[in-house]
Symmetry: C5
Subunit: 359 residues, 5 copies
Amino acid sequence: MPKRSKHKTLIRKRGRKVGQPPGTLVHVGEQHNENTALMLVNYNQDLYSEQTLQQVSDLDRNAYPEQVLWCQVQGVHDATVVQSLGEKFQLHPLVMEDILNTDQRPKLEIHEHYLYIVVKTIEFDPDANEARIEQISLVLGDGFLISFQEGSNELFQGVRNRLSSGRRLRALRADYLAYALIDTLVDNYFVLLEKFGDNVELLEEELLNNPNPATLAKIHHYKREMLLLRKVVWPLREVLVSLSRDESELVSRDTQVFVRDVYDHTIHIMDSIDTIRDLLAGMLDLYISSVSNHMNEIMKVLTIFASIFMPLTFIAGVYGMNFQHMPELSMRWGYPIAMGAMITIGVSLAVYFRWKKWL
Amino acid sequence: MPKRSKHKTLIRKRGRKVGQPPGTLVHVGEQHNENTALMLVNYNQDLYSEQTLQQVSDLDRNAYPEQVLWCQVQGVHDATVVQSLGEKFQLHPLVMEDILNTDQRPKLEIHEHYLYIVVKTIEFDPDANEARIEQISLVLGDGFLISFQEGSNELFQGVRNRLSSGRRLRALRADYLAYALIDTLVDNYFVLLEKFGDNVELLEEELLNNPNPATLAKIHHYKREMLLLRKVVWPLREVLVSLSRDESELVSRDTQVFVRDVYDHTIHIMDSIDTIRDLLAGMLDLYISSVSNHMNEIMKVLTIFASIFMPLTFIAGVYGMNFQHMPELSMRWGYPIAMGAMITIGVSLAVYFRWKKWL
Amino acid sequence: MPKRSKHKTLIRKRGRKVGQPPGTLVHVGEQHNENTALMLVNYNQDLYSEQTLQQVSDLDRNAYPEQVLWCQVQGVHDATVVQSLGEKFQLHPLVMEDILNTDQRPKLEIHEHYLYIVVKTIEFDPDANEARIEQISLVLGDGFLISFQEGSNELFQGVRNRLSSGRRLRALRADYLAYALIDTLVDNYFVLLEKFGDNVELLEEELLNNPNPATLAKIHHYKREMLLLRKVVWPLREVLVSLSRDESELVSRDTQVFVRDVYDHTIHIMDSIDTIRDLLAGMLDLYISSVSNHMNEIMKVLTIFASIFMPLTFIAGVYGMNFQHMPELSMRWGYPIAMGAMITIGVSLAVYFRWKKWL
Amino acid sequence: MPKRSKHKTLIRKRGRKVGQPPGTLVHVGEQHNENTALMLVNYNQDLYSEQTLQQVSDLDRNAYPEQVLWCQVQGVHDATVVQSLGEKFQLHPLVMEDILNTDQRPKLEIHEHYLYIVVKTIEFDPDANEARIEQISLVLGDGFLISFQEGSNELFQGVRNRLSSGRRLRALRADYLAYALIDTLVDNYFVLLEKFGDNVELLEEELLNNPNPATLAKIHHYKREMLLLRKVVWPLREVLVSLSRDESELVSRDTQVFVRDVYDHTIHIMDSIDTIRDLLAGMLDLYISSVSNHMNEIMKVLTIFASIFMPLTFIAGVYGMNFQHMPELSMRWGYPIAMGAMITIGVSLAVYFRWKKWL
Amino acid sequence: MPKRSKHKTLIRKRGRKVGQPPGTLVHVGEQHNENTALMLVNYNQDLYSEQTLQQVSDLDRNAYPEQVLWCQVQGVHDATVVQSLGEKFQLHPLVMEDILNTDQRPKLEIHEHYLYIVVKTIEFDPDANEARIEQISLVLGDGFLISFQEGSNELFQGVRNRLSSGRRLRALRADYLAYALIDTLVDNYFVLLEKFGDNVELLEEELLNNPNPATLAKIHHYKREMLLLRKVVWPLREVLVSLSRDESELVSRDTQVFVRDVYDHTIHIMDSIDTIRDLLAGMLDLYISSVSNHMNEIMKVLTIFASIFMPLTFIAGVYGMNFQHMPELSMRWGYPIAMGAMITIGVSLAVYFRWKKWL
């Protein structure tokens, strides 16, 4: 069975949080990076620039008029960074609290001047044969997008490349950028599902050819993974529905067409997760049945051996008795006759079991 | 068990797609044909004509005024064909992307000047005893219908025949043509379900008369097939509801009556799929129980043999002991008495098991 | 197990239908009668008359002003009869097609001048211990009701009697007649459910007293029957809801009160079906458990015999060895001591098993 | 297992009813009383009076102006009593039919001048360890309430006492009286659920300490009872919701507050029923597992005995062979060595099974 | 298995209540304190004061103008305290009844001048390894909040500290205070879920490494606990939704933002409960399968021993027969040949079982 990784607990610890007043900024989750990096991308149709800031205070929000500003925070364990950035963009204290708490459900909160979106990346860890989940918080405002995540932002390299390579993408507003990031995430879910789908089909073959206790543990493992994925993808649907119907001016009609496309993808993913779950449930039934079948096979062997040899051993035992008056013992053909009888009985029983289809 | 065909994976590969910007035209799915054929049917009440185009550029969209134009694309693996056709009819880039991706859920997208409909054909493959699914994309506009599919369009030969044979069908608009294609598909689902229904009822008989591990594998196989069918038919319902309520002028009121009729058929099909699923679930229970019953039978045989012969063998063993002072051994009637006792014990036990209904 | 009747397939054949253009009139289903009979009932408060027509063309629709006209078609396998009648009453081609196809789900279609209602009769066949389902199509118009069915219309004799016996019933319009027919059908469902309910409770008693493999097959049989009934009754609910809310002038307010009453009955029937299904599910669990219990009993017997006699047989075997130097063999009390030891061991083991509650 | 009482069939007989025209007054259900009693309570703030009428014709509906009139009919098997009372209060024929049919689902029917309410009392029968259900029909009109039931009206003695003891209760209208009766019924459901809850928890303890086949039958029995209760309580919810939102003038706003309180209670009861059902489902799983565990124990004992004694018996058998040339037999230490070998093998196997945790 | 605590019955006793008129004030539940304490907190932006009152009559409701008044009642078993307080604040009799009945579902009742909220605290009892549930009733009015609970109000010490430490919290109204209490409760649910989550994951490891009957009892125990938690948290969702949408002036818009945040938390908690339940269901399947696997192992050992030694013992028995004419017995190499045959047979069978993967 794949070893349970340390990183995967179904219920995340948020103990430090409890007892604190609402709005207290405390990081909840694992720390992946030592430092917090703040990467800035600003662009419009004519220019594209990337830079890494040392401190939040270096960021001048008004320095990029007529441009889209994309702040990427890597490492949300440092509450002060989130707080100073949050204050710069006038985020609600509860939003800052949620950014720090990486154990949120995907959700969309509509605030007056911005949207707060929580989504999850899922990465496949081939060693543990399981999914790794990380939270990404997006704050989408007028002309800016802030993305917060604990790990590295490698996943979005493709988006940055497309932006920098100067295509019509740069003419679009921050809402399209938000869409592009979510689209990237969801595309990645497909990769993951393919991995799981392949593994589950391999498992199915193993189940049909050579079921063993490890098969069972693997079925359990994948059921658990699917549970986890479902928990991540299910609420994302609502997020995308709300986003595609948002009537604030932050999401344009054109972008909403695209959001509906991602929405279709998540529906598709939910479908596939449910299909895999149904398949796993069927495989469990199959496993249990095949164990029963196997048991039947074993019992048949036992029963055949016992049923054939017990009568024979008994007969041998009878003629092994030491009574003085046993006329058969002194008969000339006693031994061959006894042996013949035994062979007859044995063969009859074998024929009987053959007729019963046990042999 | 029917061999798992290579073509049937629950989660389709779309790996090439991931990481590409939205709207990238990449074919996702299997390639069935070497070439892409473009077949053109144009008709009105007075004329009917079929032709095969070599290139998309040969198609002059405005050459068929007052006629219905039906473009049939066979083989969607060639992105350039889809793209140039799409541009000719001003399709949205995401629609073109979806046409190429043959792993879509059935859906209806309402665009300004056209409807985009994704449906699936299902064909029964008797060798693998399973359903083959293929995607058909329909673009229904004012005066034209474009159908995209990877495989051959044999299925629609009946529709073409009816069109050419000059009946009142040709007086109707492109929306009726779209309906006729979908109706053909759905009628085909019935054929498939009958096949599966028959096979499942045969399987039920096998289960009641001669359950064996292959029965179990077949139950699993059909459950899996039903899962797949359900995944195809379920979203079709929504497509047809939307279509029958569409308020654009692309679908006429008369056609909507017909669409509601197909809708009724899909409901019927869903019902039948669920009935078969329930039946298969019941058969699985039956199988597991019959395995247990069988085991009971085996155990009874074993227990009867062991219980009768063990005491007898023990007695024979006792009189096979070599003690010098065993008075029974030298008794004149020792041997017959011992044999009598053994027979009595054996018969008593047999009677006891008979009384317990084990014999 | 009750033998599976030939008439009962979950998925009806409609193969002849596939590939035909929509609106093609082809009978789908079994043929019960050789001939098609057309029985005519016309009445108003003052008169009541019954007649049997030889041909549809004999029917003059306008000959019964101010009367309710009830045409009863027995035997719908003859497409021409349905077609000529349909044309006389100006039915939509799809309606005629549905009348001929006796594998419809119960449904209500609201057309401009009439309502088309599909319902099902269920009859209990005591030989096969199962339900027989037949389709009845009703066309309710202004002043007329047409009922189509394949079998005989014996079931409605009660309604005809009540009509002819001159009560206030004849003052009511055709909608009340339609209600009266449906009410008769639904009342019949109760009779059926009582039969099944009784049989299931008998089965429950059998299960508690003497579970055997036939019990299992019966549970499966009744589950299957309930599946079938559910499929028939469930959509009837929607039919009745629509009928009781119909805003056309074809169903009067007074009749709607009665329709709501039948609606209550169908809810009740659905409840009962679900109760029986839950009960059967519970009985299956009980059966499986009782099989396991039985197995435990068998295993205990085996284990007790084996555990007691194996050690004893071993001891007897030891003293049956032919070593020249076995001092016990020549001891005066060797044999009684050995026998005593064996008896002690046997009794001790029996006491042990008694203490373990295995005896 | 508690004996199945004769009174408890899941599907009530209504055979006599079938085939009758709608509105025929026929009693459906069991008859508990020989006679039908008609008890009359009339009150207002100033007076309270109870009387028992001999005949329905003795009742003068208009003799109690400005008072609340409560007619209690005990014994609904006499259709004439219901009919004459129904005619006196101008009830719809279908309502009279439903009053006589004691196999109704709980429901609320809103008629022009009155409300018709069907509810159920549930009583715990400690002998059969099961619930007894009886139907109570309430007709609530302007200034009067009629309650119909087959059994005695002991249950409402508390309500009569409160009315007679002259509290502010008498100032309230008939709708409050109806509420008070329903409240009494629902309070009684709690008593019942406590009984079942206690019994189920006792059963759970029995299951953990000493599971036996009777435990299983009891689990099945309680599941069945819960099924029945659910069937009674579930539709009551809808009744109370409708009642609390009724916009006729028959139910005052003040009373609606109270009705909502009873509604909360029924929700609570549904919750508890579902909890008990979940618990019973869990107990069934536990039972099945414990049977399997037990089987494992038995099999271990058998396997240990067989595995230890079979090799030893074989060795003894070898030295019991009568070959003339068996050098071991004449060795001085043959016997002790053989015995030592046997003991070594036996002990090794015991140690092996101990290591495998089977001992 | 964790011992069932006396405090945990799924269906609480409310027997004393039944038969009483609605609005009767009787305590339902356990009594934890001997005395009833009434603690008073009053504050505004400038002051904060705590006091403990001896009697309800000492409380002058109008003595705290422009302040928030928080009355904390500890010990609701004394009906007179609740009644006099309820009358002072003009609560509806049914509200007072509900406060005394500590077996309510969480709910929100909107009254004219106040809101009545029922919530539950859950505490983890590490000895019994289970959750303890206590009811807290909140009455939120204009300028005051009354909290009723049976146990001590330690849980709210944090809220009192934050209030007294003079932060901006004191500027907020009573609705924020109510929110703060509910938030504290819900935060506590997380602590509990973490405990259960940890324990369930430990159990999962135990299940994979060393399944035993105690594992099964623990799975059952946790399923039961989850059932209980679900029952508490599920209705809380509705309470919070209603609260966040309340249109009375008792809950301000600002507070509603916070309430929605708690709502998100309860959704998260429900998710986690369902995840744990799914996990436990999977673990049960795993347990049952592992028992079957174990049984298979045992059976294999038995079958191997029996199948190898039975033929050998039979052969030894044959040559232990006492026939006078058995030529093999006097052969010079008879014994070694017989032994060789036996070894050959034994080894062949062992090889056969190895090939069958049973060894």
